[in-house]
Subunit: 493 residues, 2 copies
């Protein structure tokens, strides 16, 4: 482990390599034999499971139910909505056959040409089409609305350049698909779910986010409007962390989904969709971690506290076990996830390095001397500070410390974002500032052409038109035309 | 709803149609636009979620962790294990391309011939191959063992004849894949997980099962031995409900996974795999339900109790609401899932029929007269019996009733199975008895040839060689050759 830690690239040397190293060395994920697809290892999956559980709870509290729709989508469905097909056709994995057979030349198996599908099927890149084709049968009257479904699923987008968690060909996500009787209700739903995502990002992931609406260029393929939460990574790049789409009547029209409204008129149904994915794992890792490894927010850490005994002989070990036992019970009864690592085939220093690498928020170390003194050594992962605490009342101390760490890493990320967010007036100034990374608030004339020009010349995109903050109008930094408010620019993942 | 209920085919008329009707009418699932793939609707998915939660808990209690492996598997991986490819090649969905493009003739999108994969990928029918290819990197020494991973995933087997939940092209399941240093340990794991499945089937699904080992003909493709739990449906057919495989060193050899054992020698790793799927939903439905609809075991019912108010005016409605409020709180505090259906756009009779169809275990109906008398009408779904209970202490009464129902439907299923299980001595007798359905215990000479002959002549297969029960040797009913014990025959799903 000492060796592995030494191998972890420093952020200042190569941020990108640091990320890749960390994902592998902290046992979160690894590349698989299939191009662009990763294996999510047990420790990484345990974090994802905690995210899922909390999000699922929040979805249910807001009235949603889970369902499951097919993995495969008839190719023709994709063409029904013009923007949608434009957005996804180029990255679809296509199933063309349904059988293999023995190679006549004796080399393993080959695709059986006789088992060709009449219509090719694509692996879902997202499920609007298959779901709206299904909703057609579920919706007849306003009494059938709203429909508030979510699905936890795998999806596939054949990306050319992939990075673990951030951009993989296959990824895990949830996709909410709702159907409403009015535009107003659908808009309210899209906003509600964006707020759920922001709440989750800030209060569980400890990742501050900026809420806003995407420009037309960055909108989901098929949406009228895409709302987004944007987070800033330690290298100053933006990471789109969750999106919620107001789809208008686009998919209802594409799949002919009408309902009798309460005035007895036939009308197309209004829709939203919203999703977050295993990409959140990337945001979590890149927001908080350091050159020693992962830093996990206590609210999502699979192990919140680890206790390591330090002893010289069996007698001391037995004595420490005896003292630790009631502490374990008390922590567990408080709902705190604790691991007692008294394995005797690894030295304490090795264990310390391992739990640091894995981002366990609090480490307690107890030796014979501590027991004599009624104390315990406490190390908090966020600051790496060690202190000595009283054994008496340690469970409550740890509980409070976990909350303090949760708050501290959020504040640290927020300060970092604030220090890396600037307002600029001129395009010249913008070009200089964007090279330094971070978020830039600037005026834009609202046209796709200007946005495209800025992207080509600076690699920066409009991350969102923020909902909150300064709404003062001005003039576009590029064209001098009127601007209704400053928008958020950054280079992004 | 009344109309829908009337449309539910009776079991005695057409059991198979009854099942299909019920799946659709109880809102469990429906066919999708993709051949052989179903949509699992919210109510069906809610039951599956309860199954998942309980199974996941049991897997974790027995030391397992979750992980996630890729959906797509390189075609060549399948060929590495001879039996495995033989078993699965004929039902594989094959991905051959990774891009669509606009049809040059302007008709939607077509597969882009330039985006052909060098090696085709198959959608996992099961994940032994991709997982053992991954384990190769995880396992070097006996200190890396055991590995106890499970994954919750979708898989695809291109079945020609499909039935919702029982046999679908895509289905949801969990697959455990474990790696061990010794044969003994792998055998113990395979047995342990079969017992977990049996425990789940009997104590949560209320489905009695017979545990045993499969004959060679019925073994998982690539296994040394397949253990199974077999349940009997109401029509007397068997349903294989879960399997656990001892894989020996087959996959370790196919993917060259060796480890240094504690005697410093290089050895192939020992393996198991085990899985249950959404097929369990089929078992659940077919074991307990009746001509009025679903009957759900309380331990897996998404709604355990429904309360329906019966009132003639707003004043009565308000009074009932007032009385019901504390009952709801008390039931919820006991961990009981309760729904208060005071929607005023449906009549009580309509609601009664709906909750009967959906299998809610206990229904309470409260009217103004009840409140005067301090009583409530209780209907239990398993027997459809109505009784009057005291409002005072109703929560405890309901809690006990739920346990009674759970026990009762298990006993009912067990009695049914016992009444439909017979012992026969001669093949003539066997041929007569098998036509009546049910399980038949008979002697068999242990050869695949005899098993095949019986299957061809009677459509019955050996469901398992039971672990428990009569172990007296005898002679094969077909060939007269020696038999070590009776085996379990049935026609099956």
């Amino acid at each position: 482990m000492a060796k592995e830690l030494k191998d972890l690239t420093k952020r200042s040397e190569n941020y990108s390599q640091w990320y890749n190293d960390l994902v592998v060395k902290a046992d979160l994920a690894e590349q698989s034999a299939v191009r662009g697809c990763m294996v999510i290892k047990p420790y990484g999956y345990a974090i994802w499971e905690k995210m899922q559980q909390q999000l699922d709870r929040m979805f249910k509290e807001t009235g949603h139910v889970n369902a499951y729709f097919p993995l495969l989508i008839p190719k023709s469905f994709l063409s029904r909505e013009a923007d949608h097909v434009e957005g996804f056709a180029k990255e679809c994995a296509v199933v063309t056959h349904y059988r293999l057979k023995n190679d006549p030349e004796g080399k393993g198996v080959v695709v059986d040409p006789a088992a060709r599908l009449e219509e090719e099927l694509i692996i879902r890149p997202t499920s609007e089409t298959i779901i709206w084709n299904t909703y057609k049968n579920w919706i007849h009257s306003y009494r059938d609305l709203p429909i508030l479904c979510n699905q936890w699923a795998n999806v596939m987008r054949w990306e050319m350049r992939t990075r673990m968690f951030l951009r993989t060909a296959e990824f895990l996500w949830q996709e909410g698909h709702t159907a409403h009787a009015t535009q107003e209700e659908a808009l309210a739903e899209a906003t509600k779910m964006l707020n759920v995502y922001a709440d989750f990002a800030e209060n569980y992931m400890a990742v501050p986010v900026i809420k806003g609406v995407k420009s037309a260029n960055e909108r989901f393929a098929g949406a009228i409007d895409t709302y987004t939460i944007e987070a800033m990574m330690q290298d100053g790049k933006a990471l789109q962390s969750g999106t919620s789409h107001f789809l208008g009547q686009n998919f209802a029209k594409a799949f002919d989904v009408k309902f009798i409204n309460n005035e007895n008129q036939l009308e197309y149904v209004w829709a939203t969709s919203w999703g977050v994915s295993t990409r959140l794992m990337g945001a979590l890792i890149m927001t908080h971690s350091d050159d020693n490894g992962l830093v996990l927010p206590p609210h999502l850490a699979p192990i919140q506290v680890v206790i390591v005994p330090i002893y010289k002989n069996d007698e001391q070990a037995a004595e420490i076990n005896r003292v630790v036992e009631p502490i374990l019970s008390e922590l567990k009864s408080m709902g705190i996830s604790v691991k007692y690592d008294n394995a005797d085939n690894k030295r304490p220093g090795f264990k310390f390095a391992e739990y640091e690498l894995k981002g366990v928020p609090v480490r307690l170390a107890i030796g014979a001397r501590d027991i004599e003194n009624g104390t315990v050594e406490v190390m908090r992962r966020d600051t790496l500070e060690k202190s000595v605490a009283q054994l008496d009342g340690i469970a409550n101390y740890v509980k409070e410390l976990l909350e303090e760490i949760q708050g501290n890493i959020y504040q640290k990320a927020l300060k970092h974002r604030e220090s890396m967010t600037r307002t600029v007036e001129t395009y010249e100034e913008f070009k200089v500032e964007i090279e330094k990374g971070g978020f830039i608030l600037a005026h834009w004339d609202g046209t796709p052409e200007t946005e495209e020009k800025i992207k080509e010349e600076t690699k920066a995109t409009i991350r969102c038109i923020p909902f909150d903050g300064d709404k003062t109008p001005g003039v576009c930094m590029v064209t001098g035309k009127p601007s209704t408010q400053r928008v958020l620019f950054a280079r992004s993942y």
